[in-house]
Amino acid sequence: MTTGSKRALAPLALLTAASLLAGCGGDGGSEANDVTVWMYPVIADPKANSAYWDQVEKDFETAHPGTTVTIEEQPWENRDEKLATAFGSGKGPDVVLLNPDQVPQYLGNGALRPVDKAVEGIKESFLPNALDALTHDGKLYAVPIYHTVTTTLYNKRLLDRAGIDKPPATWDEVKAAAPKLKRVGAATLDYSASNEATLNLNFYPLLWQAGGTVFSEDGKKAAFNGPEGVAALTFLTDLYKAGAVPRSALTNTNIFADHPLGKQQVAMGFSSTLADADLARKTWGAGNVVVGKPLRNAEQVSFGVPGGLGVNAKARNVAGAEKFLAFMAGPARIQSLGKASGFLSPRTDVTVPSDDPHAKRFQEALPFAYPGEPSPVARQLMALIAPEIQAALTGRKSPREALDAAAAQADDLLARQR
């Protein structure tokens, strides 16, 4: 869910009583004992999301009398544009929910401060991957409060119809399944190539599965146009040309409902969330939903990130902000947030209790979750790669040409960073 800016099933959660009262953005509350927080629709249902964060405000203020917290709900849409301009104009929130790829970008702008103090003594309880992803130069810049994971989701009805008993788990099996599914009028692999869709759920997992990386080791050059990247894009374009990736992939964003996977036009998705699986259970029927391990080629990997709370370098109330971080990282909050959002625990000593039938399968996928390579230009880079992938899909460029073109632009972009 949190992984993709467009993944939001909860667009209507934009506004709640909280943000209404807060009035103008980060301007709310100038007293130093107030902490403003920018939160996003981590809980897909807008009403549940508002209710949850309202409750957090109350619980926190009960636990810490004298410190008030104002949680403003923001949409995923254009969040970097908003956050960067807010930081730049000195109007940013005190605390903000961050994904690992956002950290280096705002760190580069001097907008974040280390938050190690907030997790003093409990640091060892977090998943090492989760901490690593949010740590730079030995300092932690966001305290993980949940962990997401994506994995493969299969439509058993379509597989059965095509006579496929074993859900395709590797690239070769996907390729082999394509003609069989085509005979029964179904596509094989879902994909979203819209400019607005995050590559973390689309091209990057394929690249990582091929054994490739987005950046060179020192982070100063593009590496996604190596042989692994070309293999990944060739895999994708071959499927697309054969009709095994839906035609509408070009304009689709990472949305389940109303799109080919949700509408049962395609047999599998490789970046599905628990929320997707739950939705599938409702629309396809419980018996038709199969959750698998992440897709495998040279590597077995899928996208999954910790969501962490970071603190604005210009925060007026640092002590209060740190109190809030520690509060949210406590077992009670991690369990309640995980239960409400369907996300997993970032702590090894806390598990989110769940009666969701698919939760266990997603828990099993967690060890394969990879948060991506940290870079201050991660988001910008996507804007450069996405159109080139479209060009490869439409056949205007070969996979190699498309990736080389994107890499040339990426190198320019990286060279301009100081």
């Binding site: 730049g88 400019n195 070009l250 988001r379 910008q380 804007a383 159109p387 080139e388 479209q390």
Partner: protein, 318 residues
């Protein structure tokens, strides 16, 4: 507005850019400028003057200055001379966005001027419910391009859209209007033309109504009918107005952004990624304010060229 009153008015006074307004009142007898009057004048101008200095003149000079720096969001900047401009010349994205803008203009201007002219001619010859039809044609103009884009995005939808439903009835399609590199610009141009043609229609209608009745009647007596009368009598007389409309629409087309932002996000393969979208992304996605300002200056120059051509040609016609 009846034909009579409109006929008394001359062709539209185009935007102030194009044609200077009437001369400033110089009618009063020459006498020393009274200090009191000067003070009152300045006081009355003061609020607007302050706004213009801060929010118009300032940013215009600021644009030129920023384009020579590498100003970042954080506020630090270095003076880098013409580096942004050198980079721009070598930037494929810049050239592609400029190309898309030009191509879009080529689709949009004929489409919208054609629509405006067609409806203006229709209205001009209509007596029956003219005010009503004029209102209907003008209605889309009072809405926002965002609204138009939202509606038309659904109309063009490859699976559920109205247009493909119609094509389906004719056993055609489905056509992915917004997903096809060749169709996306004409499709967006059609949306913008629908939204905007009412404006030029009114200008052209006023122009038509300012053509003296005797001229067209004389043509009728000479035996010119229908198309011939239009081609050889009406259009030549309408030329200055038509030209004004062409340039205005071209200037508007070069600034296109909203429709693409809502309908395609610039895709597919940047086939609908125009100059202003590139400027917006450079500024608000890449936070590269210096470079974005240089792009803004390019836009300014293009619009300036259009305006100068307009001034020149309209001046010649008069």
């Amino acid at each position: 507005m009846t034909a009579g009153t409109a006929g008394e008015r001359t062709a539209p006074t185009p935007e102030p850019v194009a044609v200077p307004g009437p001369p400033l009142p110089a009618g009063r007898p020459a006498r020393p400028v009274r200090r009191r009057e000067a003070r009152v004048g300045l006081l009355f101008v003061a609020p607007m003057l302050l706004l213009f200095v801060v929010f118009r003149f300032g940013p215009t000079i600021g644009a030129a200055f920023l384009s020579l720096t590498d100003y970042r969001l954080s506020g630090d900047w270095r003076f880098i001379g013409a580096e942004n401009y050198a980079r721009l010349l070598q930037d494929d994205l810049f050239w592609s966005s400029l190309g898309v803008t030009a191509l879009y203009t080529l689709f949009f201007v004929p489409l919208t001027v054609g629509l405006s002219l067609g409806t203006a001619l229709l209205l001009h010859r209509t007596v029956w419910l003219r005010g009503f039809f004029r209102g209907v044609f003008f209605l889309p103009y009072v809405t926002s391009i965002v609204l138009a884009a939202v509606i038309w995005k659904w109309i063009y939808d490859v699976e559920d859209g109205l247009l493909n439903a119609v094509l389906g009835v004719l056993s055609l399609g489905p056509v992915d209007f917004l997903g096809d590199e060749r169709l996306v610009l004409p499709a967006i141009a059609a949306t913008s033309a629908w939204k905007g043609f009412g404006y030029s229609m009114l200008i052209l209608l006023a122009g038509l109504q300012s053509i003296p009745r005797e001229v067209t009647e004389a043509a009728v007596i000479d035996g010119a009918t229908g198309w011939r009368r239009l081609r050889w009598v009406t259009l030549p007389l309408l030329r200055p107005v038509l030209f004004f409309v062409l340039v205005i629409e071209a200037i508007g087309a070069f600034q296109v952004f909203d429709a693409m932002y809502v309908m395609t996000a610039g895709g597919p393969v940047r086939a609908s990624y125009p100059l202003v979208y590139f400027l917006y992304d450079t500024g608000f996605k890449f936070f590269d304010f210096g470079y974005a300002s240089a792009l803004g200056l390019v836009l300014f120059l293009v619009v300036l060229v259009f305006s100068l051509i307009q001034r020149r040609l309209i001046g010649r016609d008069e």
